[in-house]
Symmetry: C2
Subunit: 136 residues, 2 copies
DNA sequence: TTAATTCCTACTAAAGTTATAGGATAAACC
DNA sequence: GGTTTATCCTATAACTTTAGTAGGAATTAA
């Protein structure tokens, strides 16, 4: 039950954007070199985060990426849900948990539901702003 | 970040053992039919749990499996750690977390450490006995 | 001796992850 | 208007993990 490197890199990407926001878009090339990730791989990650509306992009020369809001508006949970698809430990729990006939009497469901709540409240409780504070 | 079906079945297996403990070993065949899992697949799972000393086995005719202790001694966390290898969300945290030079100043480490604590305390807080209570 | 049962090792198929490659599209700048 | 700088989009390949099957060896009860 590991977080993928995709997810880990997405957090680095978002944090890098927060750290280097001076109003103008930040280039993938710069982020890639700072975070030691290939530009090509970062493109994927940026694309996912873009689709999830966590970042905005500016095309063409002088373009790049920007957070779509202030750093206190983004949680680690949001970022990981975008990159991992979902952070629920089983299909039957979390947002859009698939309908399972057994839900009402399934013991396992109760486990996954508790676990999901623990994971979700932990990750939704950490914002990019918190991460910046921790960096100091 | 899903729990594997291996892990989910391991919990069913252990709970079935708790539910059908009458002093004599419980056969895989019975568990398999009750839990709707193939005997062959259950063999794998039983083998993992045996190696982890969570169950004891009796070979030969009339043999089968038994919990190696009372149901209140086994946590869902123990079972899942055995089957999933580890429940830590990243290599750097949890029991035997690999040594990472960056630990002391890594922001991500703090995320995974918090998450690991949340997951671990949730899963270590649920015993087979609790599951039996929930069933009623 | 036979039947029941765990134990052990291979193997296969499917899915997901981690990238890389090549080029299309869009905008800035001279 | 052409060149350069970037994002955007699709395909692909290598690798790993998971899920599940198969065959038979070892062990014990009856």
């Amino acid at each position: 039950m590991k977080i993928s490197t995709r997810g880990r890199n997405a957090i680095k990407f978002m944090l890098d954007l927060a750290d280097h926001d001076n109003g103008t878009p930040v280039k993938l090339k710069e982020i890639a070199s700072r975070q030691n990730i290939s530009v090509k791989y970062l493109e994927h990650i940026a694309s996912i985060l873009h689709r999830a509306s966590l970042v905005t992009s500016v095309k063409g020369a002088g373009g790049g990426y920007l957070l779509s809001g202030s750093p206190d508006k983004f949680t680690v949970g949001q970022i990981l849900k975008a990159t991992e698809g979902s952070m629920a430990p089983a299909e039957c729990v979390g947002e859009g948990g698939t309908e399972c006939q057994r839900k009402s009497f399934c013991v396992s469901f109760l486990i996954w539901d508790k676990l999901n709540t623990a994971i979700d409240s932990t990750l939704e409780g950490i914002t990019l702003d918190d991460l910046r504070t921790w960096q100091e």
